[in-house]
Symmetry: C2
Subunit: 410 residues, 2 copies
C-alpha cells in the first residue's frame, strides 16, 4: 500500500473554491495509486474567532475547555471537505483526533503526541481511499480533547506520516517553499530544493515561519521526508530530509534574521562561581527565554555579562535583574531594544572552515558593527544594530553566493 500524507493550512481550506483546489491535489495522488491521508487546519481566521469568543466569556479561559472549543475549527473543515469528496464519488471519510485516536499528554493548548493507533488507520485505509484527518488535535488517555499549539497541524501530519511510514509528508501552504532568505528583504532569494532537518530547525526558529518547529523535530526523529509546497502552484517546493541526502558541497544554505531581540548588559558583576545561575535562574522561572549570552574576560575579579531576550520580555527581564543586582554586585544595567540578529545557516559548515571569516568580512565591508556573536555547529549568528538588518542580510546572501544555483563540487 502506497501511502502519502498531505497537509493543508488555513488559507488552503478557506471556502469552497480553495477546497476544490485541495481536492484536485488529492485526486492527482489517487490517480497515481496512493492512499491519501489529508490533514486539514481550521479555515483561516476561525481559530482566532474562537479565541476572541472565549475571551468574551473569561479573562483567563480554562485551557481544557479552550481545547474543547478550538477543536471545532478543524472539525468543521474535515466534515465539509469529506462531503465534497464523497459528492464526487471518492471513497473518503473524516476522522477526528479522538477517533483515530491520536493520544497526547494532558498539556492542554500545547499537548505532545504520545502515540497513534496505526493499526486502526491501516485497517481504515483498506476500506477508504482518503482519510480526512482533523489536524491540531488529539485526546489524552481519559478522552479529554487536546490541541497541539499554533501550527500543530504540521505536527499532526508528520506524526501520521511517521506512524504509517508514508512515502512523504506534503505540507501545502501559501508559500511555495523555503527560501535562502526572506524574499521581501532580498530580491535575489532563491527557493531551496533540499534542506536538512537541522538547517530547517534553525531557519524556522529564525522566523522563516513555514513549518511548526516541533513538526521538524518529529520529522527528524522518525526520518519523515517533508515536502513544503504551494497549494496554488503545481511546481515542487522544498524537500526537508536527512542531512546525508542534501548535497554536501553547499557550505551555507540560508540567511535568517530576527528583529525580536533586545540586549541587556550587566556591568562589573562579581566573577565568581554561581553568579550566572543567580542571573539566569530567576529569568527562567519567569519563562523568559534567553538567546545569546556573552561573558567578557574577567578584570580584577569583575566581569560584564550580556544577553539577549525577546523584545517584549525586556521590561520584565530588567525588573528581575534589578532585584538581583545587589547580590551579584552589578554596578549598572544597560539595555538596548534596537538590535537584531542575522544568522548564517548550513550543515556544510561542519566540513568547511572559513565561514565565519567570510561573514565577518562581508559585514565589515558595509561598516556594520557586530555587537555579539554566537555559533553552533551549523550556524553563526551576529547581533547588530537593527537599522542594518536588511543590508546585512543582502550582504551575507551575496557573500555566500546564495543568489546562484549551487555548483556540484568534487
Amino acid at each position: 500500500m502506497k501511502i502519502i500524507v498531505q497537509k493543508f493550512g488555513g488559507t488552503s481550506v478557506a471556502g469552497l473554491n480553495r477546497m476544490k483546489q485541495v481536492k484536485a491535489k488529492v485526486e492527482k495522488k489517487l490517480k497515481k495509486g496512493y492512499k491519501v491521508i489529508v490533514v486539514l487546519s481550521a479555515m483561516a481566521g476561525e481559530t482566532d474567532r474562537l479565541i476572541s469568543l472565549a475571551s468574551d466569556f473569561s479573562k483567563n479561559p480554562d485551557p481544557c475547555e479552550m481545547d474543547v472549543l478550538l477543536t471545532t475549527g478543524e472539525q468543521v473543515s474535515v466534515a465539509l471537505f469529506s462531503m465534497l469528496l464523497k459528492d464526487e464519488g471518492i471513497n473518503a471519510r473524516s476522522l477526528l483526533g479522538f477517533q483515530i485516536p491520536i493520544h497526547t499528554d494532558r498539556s492542554y493548548g500545547k499537548a505532545r503526541i504520545l502515540e497513534i493507533d496505526d493499526e486502526k488507520l491501516k485497517k481504515l485505509l483498506e476500506r477508504y481511499d482518503v482519510l480526512v484527518v482533523a489536524g491540531f488535535q488529539g485526546c489524552d488517555f481519559q478522552h479529554n480533547l487536546t490541541t497541539l499549539g499554533r501550527g500543530g497541524s504540521d505536527t499532526s501530519a508528520v506524526a501520521l506520516a511517521a506512524a504509517l511510514k508514508a512515502e512523504v509528508c506534503e505540507i501545502y501552504t501559501d508559500v511555495d517553499g523555503v527560501y535562502t532568505t526572506d524574499p521581501n528583504v532580498c530580491s535575489k532569494a532563491r527557493k531551496i530544493p533540499k534542506i536538512a532537518y537541522d538547517e530547517m530547525l534553525e531557519m524556522a526558529s529564525m522566523g522563516a515561519k513555514v513549518l511548526q518547529i516541533r513538526s521538524v523535530e518529529f520529522a527528524k526523529k522518525y526520518n519523515v521526508p517533508v515536502h513544503v509546497r504551494s497549494t496554488f502552484k503545481d511546481e515542487p517546493g522544498t524537500l526537508v530530509v536527512k542531512e546525508d541526502e542534501v548535497m554536501e558541497s553547499v557550505m551555507v544554505s540560508g540567511i535568517a534574521y530576527d528583529k525580536d531581540q533586545a540586549r541587556i548588559t550587566l556591568v562589573d558583576v562579581f566573577d565568581e562561581p554561581g553568579v550566572a545561575a543567580r542571573i539566569f535562574e530567576p529569568l527562567a522561572a519567569h519563562n523568559i527565554v534567553v538567546d545569546m549570552i556573552v561573558q567578557n574576560p574577567s578584570h580584577e575579579g569583575r566581569t560584564d555579562i550580556t544577553f539577549t531576550v525577546s523584545r517584549k520580555e525586556m521590561d520584565t527581564a530588567i525588573e528581575i535583574i534589578e532585584r538581583v543586582k545587589g547580590e551579584i554586585g552589578a554596578r549598572d544595567v544597560f539595555y538596548d531594544p534596537q538590535v537584531s540578529k542575522v544568522s548564517v545557516i548550513g550543515v556544510g559548515m561542519r566540513n568547511h572552515s572559513g565561514v565565519a571569516a567570510i561573514a565577518f568580512k562581508a559585514l565589515k565591508s558595509e561598516n556594520i558593527n557586530i555587537l555579539m556573536i554566537s555559533t553552533s555547529e551549523i550556524k553563526i549568528s551576529c547581533l547588530i544594530e537593527e537599522k542594518y538588518t536588511e543590508l546585512a542580510v543582502r550582504t551575507l546572501h551575496e557573500a555566500f553566493g546564495l543568489d546562484k544555483e549551487p555548483k556540484m563540487e568534487q
Copy 2:
C-alpha cells in the same frame, strides 16, 4: 446524591448575557445541594448556519459528515459555558456525547439513543458539581458522531435524567410552559400546571412546539418528570408527569390546531379487500404521512375514501394516487388544501362521556361545518374549513371551560 437535569435551548445560550442568566439558574440549584447536569443546545442560529454552509459544499451532504459538522454547535456552547462556570470557581466540566458516551444507533441525523454510561457519569458527579453536556449528539459503537434530530437536546436531557434517576428534568425555553391553547389565537389561554405524558404527546404533535415529541415518549417510558419553564422568568412552568399524578377531574386539558392539512377524496373506488392497501402503501413508500382516514359506507360495491396529508405533500400524494386510480376503480380525485384540524385533548375523556357531543354542539353553534372526524382515547379531532380555525379554537376553549381554573370535583 440529589441530581437534577437542566436543559437550555438555543435562545437561552445565545451570547454571554443569556449564558449568565443560565448560570444563575444553575447556581440556584447548587445552593439547594443538587448536583446539576446542564444540557445545552447550539447557540440560536448556529445549526442553521452550519446547514447552510454544508449546502454550499454539497447538494446532498453525506449524513455522516453532516453530523460531524453539526455537533460542533453544541461543542462550542458547552466549552464557553464551562469556562464561565469555572471562572467563578464552580467545579464544572464539559462533556461531549462521545465522552459520556451516549451511544446511539447509526441513523445519522436522526439517531436514537441506545444506552448511556450512567456509572461513568455518577463517578464524574462525585468529582464535579456541574457537568455541562452537549445536547443533540451521541456516537455509535464505532465512535462515529451522531445527532438526534431537530430538538434532540430535549431527548438528551430526558435520557440523562432517566439514566441518573434525576429528581426532575427541567427544560428551559423561551416560553413559560404549555398552554390550554395557542395564546396568539385565544387570549384566554391559561398555562397548564400539570399535564400527562399522553396529553403532551398530542399537544406537541399538534403544533404546540414546546418539546421534541421523542423526548416526551422517552420521559413516559422511564417515568421522568419533565418541567417545561422559562429561562427568563422565575415562576414555575408546566410539569409533564404520569397520568395518575394529574387531577382526574379535568375532562379536557387543551385545544390544539394544525393548519398544515390537505384533504384528498377518491370517489367511487371498488369496495373490496386490498383497496386501502393499494392506496396507502405507495404513499408510505414515498414517506408521505397520512393523518385522518374516513371511508364512507359502501353503495353498490363502491365507496368514497377521504384522507388528509401535510399540505406540502399534497401534490406528490395526488400524483401517486393518479397512478393507481385505474386499478382501484376511482372515478374521480378531489382535493382541498384549505382545511385545518382542531383537536380537543384530555386524559379525562376516558372517564367522561359527552365530550364529543359538547365539541360538536359548540362548533355547530358557530355554524362551523365538520368535514371529517377522528378520535382516540384522549383526543377528538375535527377537520374544518381553514378560515374557521381561530373561531373554532376559541369556541371549543370556552365550551370546555378552559379559561377558568379547574375545580376539584369529588
